[in-house]
Amino acid sequence: MNPLSPKVEVNNLSVSYRNSGQGSVEALSNVSLGLKKGESCALIGPSGCGKTTLLYVLAGLLKPTIGQANIDGQPIRPKRKETAIILQDYGLMPWKTVWENTALGLVIRKLPEKDIEKRVSRILAKLGLEKLRNSYPHQLSGGQRQRVAIARSLALEPDLLLMDEPFSSLDALTREELQEDLLHLWQEKELTMVLVTHSIEEAAYLGQRIFIFSKGPGRVVAELRNSGVGKEDYRSSEEYHARTDEIRQILLKHRLQSI
């Protein structure tokens, strides 16, 4: 475990959106969860239950309406340098090349050009993107785009990685390949990782902790431990299959199966 990666705590968190008309929509209701340093966690729940909202709070993009979200015991500040978030549609800039997209966070943080050059080359090489460095996002496949989004977050050398349904629009083969790569990166960098998904298999394969959310406004209806994550050949193990069944049972019991 990386002693430097953060622990994340969410206590009695509720978030409401004020609507442009009158009134407000409650997106999350009284959510509590805690992650140890270096843990990976999957959030699963029906669409509209507030998973994205929770991720925004953890990234400091939204403020809690009620309750608290802390990183290493401190209330989350916006722009915490070591937090990286990958948004649902990848959030790449269509007008920037693979290289420019990957370097964007470093350019914004005004790193010296030489350092940017070095870091970006290393990361692109690691993710197998060197040949695409001058391509624009619309010239890439979904999987390649997702790799660029991952590259861009890793360039920041984060210790907390937040991802919103990162692999949901990929074909099965690409998805498994990227899940594998993500797992390796997580182990290598010892990141704390929060992954939103609507796939039972993905939650069971990547989340050491799995939080199951109710329909919106989201509450945590169940919390599972899944310590086998990262083991050799986990996908074909008994434990993994037991976990997917367990998640499925809980979703059925709470009538959330239509996700």
Partner: protein, 248 residues
Amino acid sequence: MNRWYTGFYYVLALGILLISWELLSLWVNSIALPSPRSALGSFFELAAKGSLRSHFLVSAYRVTASIALALVTAVPLGLFLGRVKALDRLAVPLIFLTYPIPKIVFLPVFMALFGLGDLSKITLVALIVFYQILVTTWDEARSINQQMIYSVTSLGAGERDIYRHVLFPAVLPKIFTSMRISLGTAIAVLFIAETYATNVGLGYFLIETWSRGAYDQMYAGIIGMGILGFTLYQLFSVFERILCPWTK
């Protein structure tokens, strides 16, 4: 290969236009519509003598200056209004009420305020292009996906970075489109403006030759106007290709 085909069709289109013009002039049979041969002949003759050049250059300067003035005012304002949605309540009715006014009616006002020289002509044309670019920029800037803003904010972006890395590149291709669209109107308005209180510019040249009944020469002016529009249009396209390589 593709380029060859494109080039071929351009030549073909030009041929069709010239032949139609020739036929039309034969049919109308009036000195007000000379054949393309005599119109082009007088164009090249005047061009060779250099007597068209100063008119062409002054018109080119006026319209370019107008567009530049419109760009440096409308783009920042449009981006700002698109970013700060709280201003919509006031900005929407302001634009909505003034946009449909045909700006040409302000020609006398501008001449009274800014004199009879270049300034009044440039500001009038700039005003028209300004509206076109402002509305386009504003529209595009306000419709930017919040996710994209979040995405750069999470990378540490402040307001300036949002303008630089998101808003400006997002609107840039639309700015070029609106420049191309407003070019026709800009030159038309310049023509009107140049018929007053000046003795240089293609608009002046046209009216002056017309009043003398020198139709051949007048057509040389018309061709000059056409070339001015065509050149600027092509220039915009070249700039767009250089500055917006991702739209290819």
